[in-house]
């Protein structure tokens, strides 16, 4: 029991747990839409695309969260623009813009501002050293993600199910998509300080992808995804505290292990009959 309660007495751990739970709500809910709409690469790319914003934040004297948010939203906006004509596929455009953003960030970091701090924050995150702004941002995106899922679930479901038919159903498909990408960018920015850019999928993709193996209705998918994200990040944090591991990678490893177990369970012989019936 002390194994559980000891960490909770430390203020920095309370702050980390609160943030992790808030991010689990945001990441778990939006993760379902990321997985259903095949936006995992986009989510990953937005994280890395905040790089130039983080590099200039210090020298320009702006909050890193704000700089990252502007860079992330700019990335999402540019992507929508590039793919609108249909000439460039979404994943090719994402790769293109991702390379551009990383290159710009590297040039700025090495030649212009000689800054190493932005790079550290970008890559690794610091769940055990969060500032007030990080905690507030996490709580804000949790609230907005919950509200948006309640208000827009039907739009996102119908648009993802069949984009060509969605408008004919009277669903605001274009506005819904734009809002989803913007909200995703904001959530990625909120997740960055916790797990780092290279591991945003830990909270935004892994729990939802695991839930997808276990359940097949939208409501239970959303609930399972949030519950898995919360359980995995709390477990990862406790392991990090006791074993002196970096928290982001610890959460990522727990999430990966849970996914592997779920995949094994889904493929188990006693479930194969049920799956075959569904697929027939």
């Amino acid at each position: 029991m002390r194994w559980l309660t000891d960490p909770l007495s430390a203020p920095f751990m309370q702050r980390a747990l609160l943030t992790a739970l808030a991010l689990s709500i945001a990441g778990g809910l939006l993760g379902v839409w990321i997985v259903l709409r095949r936006l995992a690469f986009f989510a990953h790319a937005v994280g890395s695309a905040t790089f130039p914003g983080l590099v200039v934040a210090g020298p320009w004297g702006i909050a890193p969260q704000l700089a990252a948010l502007v860079a992330g939203l700019g990335f999402a906006g540019l992507l929508t623009r590039v793919t609108r004509s249909g000439a460039t596929s979404s994943d090719a455009a994402t790769g293109l813009l991702l390379a551009g953003a990383l290159a710009l960030g590297s040039v700025l970091a090495s030649d212009v501002y000689r800054s190493g701090a932005g790079v550290d924050r970008l890559l690794f995150g610091t769940l055990l050293g969060l500032g007030d702004a990080d905690v507030w941002l996490a709580l804000a995106v949790a609230l907005v993600a919950a509200a948006a899922t309640a208000a827009l679930a039907r739009t996102w479901l119908a648009t993802g199910f069949d984009p060509a038919a969605a408008r004919a159903l009277g669903v605001p498909a274009g506005r819904g998509d734009w809002l989803l990408l913007a909200l995703l960018a904001a959530t990625v920015v909120a997740v960055l300080p916790a797990v780092g850019a290279l591991l945003v999928s830990t909270l935004l993709v892994v729990p939802a992808a695991t839930a997808r193996l276990l359940t097949s209705s939208l409501g239970s998918l959303l609930a399972t995804s949030v519950a898995l994200a919360a359980a995995e990040s709390v477990t990862g944090l406790l392991l990090a505290y006791h074993l002196d591991l970096p928290p982001g990678p610890a959460i990522a490893l727990v999430g990966g292990a849970v996914f592997a177990l779920a995949a094994l369970a889904a493929a188990a012989p006693w479930r194969r009959g049920a799956r075959a019936r569904v697929a027939a």
Partner: protein, 253 residues
């Protein structure tokens, strides 16, 4: 098979319509026809001939470059089922309920009356037993019937059906044919995009498109060798000395 004569007012009236994607040249020009309550119109043409463009213009997704579209009531689109994501976590009922999304305010749940309506619509297309089945697990024909049920929930006055019989088993084909006849009897207008010239002869009117309107009228008078050749160009194969025709489609996408 002829349209009820007692309702003279056109439900759907298209006059001098041209539609384009963005700033490019019109993909479809000079379309003029009127459909009365209860009429079913086969829309013929090769791929890229303008069937999809016409549907999108009728749905209001492509504003007319020139001309007008007047529709009394709502328009529903019944897409081909392979266009939808079969791995989505939606049941047959969930898909039918999408027909009620337009009248559901964003902060409310779908109304109980609409849920009852969706169940009744699925019942009507013969899928009362499959309400809770995952959409992707149904057969192609059953999925097509779910999409027709969704249009019923929309209570559309005009239904645009994209190849409703493509890849459909015989039982579903009968069920779809029966429900389409019922919809005509209720005074709804059906536009049925099809590659099947024989099937087109079954409906009240045919509309032949090839970038522009080639012909419009009752099948017997309209589906002449000359019209079919103008519609399909080299893709047409005439059988039995020109009394039967088969369009050879090259699916390039």
């Amino acid at each position: 098979m002829s349209a009820p004569a007692r309702e003279p007012a056109a439900r759907l009236e298209v006059a001098g319509l041209a539609a384009a994607y963005g700033a490019s040249a019109p993909a479809l020009r000079e379309v003029t026809f009127a459909a009365h309550a209860g009429q079913a119109i086969a829309v013929l043409g090769s791929n890229g001939g303008g069937k999809t463009t016409l549907f999108r213009a009728l749905l209001g997704e492509l504003p007319p470059v020139t001309g007008t579209v007047a529709i009394a009531g709502t328009t529903a689109y019944v897409p081909q089922t392979e266009r939808s994501r079969l791995d989505f976590p939606v049941s047959a009922l969930d898909v039918a309920l999408m027909g009620a999304y337009a009248r559901t305010r964003w902060y409310r749940r779908v109304a109980a009356a609409d849920r009852a309506l969706a169940r009744a619509a699925l019942e009507r297309v013969g899928l009362g037993e499959q309400v809770a089945e995952r959409f992707g697990a149904l057969s192609g024909g059953q999925r097509q019937r779910v999409l027709v049920a969704r249009a019923l929930v929309q209570d559309a006055a005009v239904l645009l059906l994209d190849e409703p019989f493509a890849g459909v088993d015989a039982m579903s084909e009968d069920a779809i044919m029966r429900i389409l006849d019922e919809l005509r009897a209720e005074g709804r207008v059906l536009l049925i995009a099809t590659h099947d010239i024989e099937q087109a002869r079954r409906w009240d009117r045919v509309l032949c498109l090839r970038g522009e309107q080639i012909a419009y009228g009752p099948p017997a008078q309209t589906l002449t060798t000359a019209v079919l050749e103008a519609t399909y160009g080299a893709e047409i194969v005439l059988l039995d000395d020109g009394t039967r025709a088969v369009a050879v489609q090259h699916h390039a996408h």
